[in-house]
Symmetry: C2
Subunit: 227 residues, 2 copies
Amino acid sequence: MENSGFTHTEQNYIKAIFKIQEITSKKTVSTNDIADRLFTQPATVTDMIKRLAEKKIVTYKKYYGVHLTAKGEKIALDIIRKHRLWEVFLVNKLNFKWDEVHDIAEQLEHINSDELIVKLDDFLGNPKFDPHGDAIPDKHGKMSSADSVPLSSITKKQSCVFCGVANHEARFLQYLDSLKLNIGTTIHVESINSFDSSYKVKINKKQSEFFSAQIASYILVQPVNGK
Amino acid sequence: MENSGFTHTEQNYIKAIFKIQEITSKKTVSTNDIADRLFTQPATVTDMIKRLAEKKIVTYKKYYGVHLTAKGEKIALDIIRKHRLWEVFLVNKLNFKWDEVHDIAEQLEHINSDELIVKLDDFLGNPKFDPHGDAIPDKHGKMSSADSVPLSSITKKQSCVFCGVANHEARFLQYLDSLKLNIGTTIHVESINSFDSSYKVKINKKQSEFFSAQIASYILVQPVNGK
DNA sequence: TTTTAATTTTAGATTCATCTAAAAATTTGT
DNA sequence: ACAAATTTTTAGATGAATCTAAAATTAAAA
């Protein structure tokens, strides 16, 4: 594959379009959404998507936004694969904390060498998930489905395993750290406040905590003995 | 330090100027020498060194070449430190061969994060030399002197330890591999041909080999029981 | 269904890094 | 020491990535 032929900037646009598609699950991605995500001007985005359209990375209809082609999606998944593998490296090997790795991985994801990624993947033990619980696409772009749901969708008292976050802000991750809530930790739902949809939970069979509805929506879990 | 404020390209020029200074040990580095090393045009180099001069990275006198300032030298050493640490990572951790790592390290050296380099250095066990035997500058730019000499400067039959190369071409490194000549291997000089200055040596007390004067000049050794 | 608001595109500039061709300065050779 | 050769710089262009301001198009609202 050797993602050459695409500049850093082009790669960033491709990834941004992919992520917006993922989040909004709309058919097309708007110029403004891309501009917002990349902290750039709509005019700049228009120029870039024209170039990406010429390179058959996106389909583009004036005034109606863009959509990644199969080729574009493959490139996006390849960048995401690299990003998440590097995050695993930074956390598991270099002892970075999970809230510190994003910016560095954002740089490392642009390093261009297929052989490097093969060897890095092996070195890390071919991980399927990154330190935040996000699935790592394999070399063909396939992702193992995490099979997780937001804690906020749990409606009865039961045990769950914390397996990912739906918010990657450093401040949120640090908050979870302060509760000693790590990926793999058991969360037992003790009660749900039907008024504000907040949760009272027990973490690791130890301390009790309260989660607002918002926080509960950011905590991804797998129900245990789920019925 | 956080080498920000310098583009990839600027960093490449700074490193190139440093290396040319190192090789030629002349006071100033010429426009053409930089152009040759970076496979670019002299006119392009003139533009860039003007910018570097404005940023106080080099001293520049029209028509008389450039010289790195203390600031420029510090930046160059920082880039070289990163390059060599990454090479250690690639060879020692990812099992790349020593002839395969240059281009990848050339990309990785531009990753910008002081914390990353501190942690990488620790992870690698604070190595003092890279896989080719080149000294790794410490965080202050200090390098441990390798104390090595080219095999071609050895004038009598004696044992030496192979500790580095003065030529980093993949083909040369592969040639040494084919002789099972690795860093640390003992080379015993059996005879020196006074006509063409070629060497007959025994490697690791096993096979005998012949080295032309040219090859001998590329093999760096530390004499054993040196007198 | 028009008018208004929001979004998107075009037009014209700027900066970085690069090029070629031509001019200027330095170095070399006789 | 002067002409020839080499090196270096200037001048003018180009492409990538960005900006602002204005024009065009689409979407929303009265």
